[in-house]
């Protein structure tokens, strides 16, 4: 998987559980010699087996089931200051949370635009009416739906929307995962501010 995914897990474990826990995770996954204290290269493409080993090791290290850890990873990616750049790129998807949901069909393409060799699984949004949506990740890696759920919950809050999300397991009659999203109020509170262009960072 793309190094960006592995560095995301690296940042999450380090920030949420401490550097010692992260180093221990690497040791458990048998990756210490290869990756070491310097960590992953964000722009390199690693073997899928590396990410699988990493997630299993992290779950074992912190003593939590993988699904719950993945959900927290999703939340972290949207709400932690370290990953503010990612949160901003996601917010470009729409002015409101509902608009954003409708842009999820394009998430794969938008991501490829930013990082050509990062190929996310396809997402398909079904509008069930009345603010209810079914989001289907047809052939993502196991656990992708949980990361999405954590991220979408945090994004709903970021937009100021009141929404309930539920993981529905395999959906759409095919393999993969699906999420049921009920947007009760897209403008429940002000949400976090998003300016189309921010002040320039000093070089």
């Amino acid at each position: 998987m793309h190094g960006l995914i592995n560095t995301a897990i690296q940042a999450f474990v380090g920030d949420a559980f401490g550097q010692a826990a992260w180093h221990s995770t690497l040791h458990r996954a048998g990756l210490w010699d290869a990756i070491g204290p310097d960590g992953f290269d964000a722009l390199f493409v690693y073997d899928d087996a590396v990410t699988r080993a990493l997630l299993d090791a992290a779950a074992a290290e912190v003593g939590r089931p993988a699904e719950s850890l993945l959900e927290d990873l999703g939340t972290y990616l949207v709400s932690h200051p370290r990953t503010e750049a990612l949160r901003r790129l996601l917010r470009f998807g729409g002015d409101s949370f509902t608009d954003f949901l409708r842009s999820l069909d394009d998430l794969r393409g938008r991501t490829r635009l930013a990082v050509p060799d990062l190929d996310l699984p396809d997402l398909c949004l079904r509008d069930l009416g009345g603010g209810r949506f079914l989001l289907i990740a047809a052939d993502g890696p196991p656990g992708y739906g949980h990361v999405l759920m954590g991220a979408l919950r945090a994004l709903a809050d970021d937009y100021g929307a009141l929404a309930v999300l539920d993981h529905r397991g395999p959906g759409g009659g095919s393999c993969g995962e699906s999420l049921l999203i009920e947007v009760h109020d897209p403008a429940f509170h002000a949400g976090r501010r998003f300016d189309l262009a921010t002040a320039q960072e000093p070089p």
């Binding site: 310097d38 964000a42 722009l43 002015d95 938008r110 635009l113 930013a114 990082v115 262009a197 002040a199």
Partner: protein, 326 residues
Amino acid sequence: MTAAAVAITPAALDRLLPLYARLDAGTVLRGLGPTLARLLGAGALGQRLDAVFGLTHPARVRTAADLCHTTPLRLVLHGPVATPFKGVAVPLADGGALLNLSFGYRLQDAVRDHRLSGSDFAPTDLANEYLYLVEANTAILSEARRASDRLRGARALALEQALTDPLTGLRNRRGLDRALARLAASGQPFGLIHIDLDHFKRINDTLGHAAGDRVLAEVAARLKRAVRDADGVARLGGDEFVVLLPGLRGRARAGRVARRLLRDLERPLPLLPPAAPLSASLGVALWDGAGPAGAEALLLAADRALYRSKGTGRGRITVATPADTP
């Protein structure tokens, strides 16, 4: 067959072209899209185009028709923030012109300077995608820079390790070869002293290898302290060392330097019994900076001189003669 003219209300025009301006034949502003209106502020309507914008291309306009002949138009907003625009103008039936503007590649600056949001652009405008791409690009570049920095650091470390003898911290054979090649290429005269410790095997055999290693480390330290910063000290492995001395000239002087080094090495060492102090055999070779020296030839000459030191009793220095260089 020409298509019929399209009648469009100002409100519809506002939705499609938030950055439009309608000018009369004399280039007076008669209508503005909502975003442009906000940018120009109250009082812009009723003014001539060149009262509100600086004209870059064309430099001057008298009539609306003048605008329609140039593509793309280049204008700059008057005022504290000189936002540049590019534009295109088309003629209207009444003799005026409809001018549509865009920010071009300076879009991000314009959005920042004027606090624009998504709703200030038409829904079909690529502003959103463009700004997304700019931010994504910046984020990826900073990741790339970080990776590049780390790589450079790792490479420097790896190179350093590849050229260093781990026991003494001196240059190893590879490091010596590089330093020697640099000196030979510089055209500067220099000297080379090959040092071989005497009876070192005996030290290892009687005191053990750990003690032997400590002796080697002490020798390295003494050599480093004895020479200048510009000089190089290398360990060739075992109990052999090489000292490089840029700028060293003259056999007499070289001999003095080598004898000084030898006396320093022979100073008592706490590890060794006083009855069997450390000593070494030295071979010195010089290059005058002009002759056809190879690094190899110089090492060979120093080696021959060293051999003579060993052969004539050890614990001494020998300076190579021209005969030692083939």
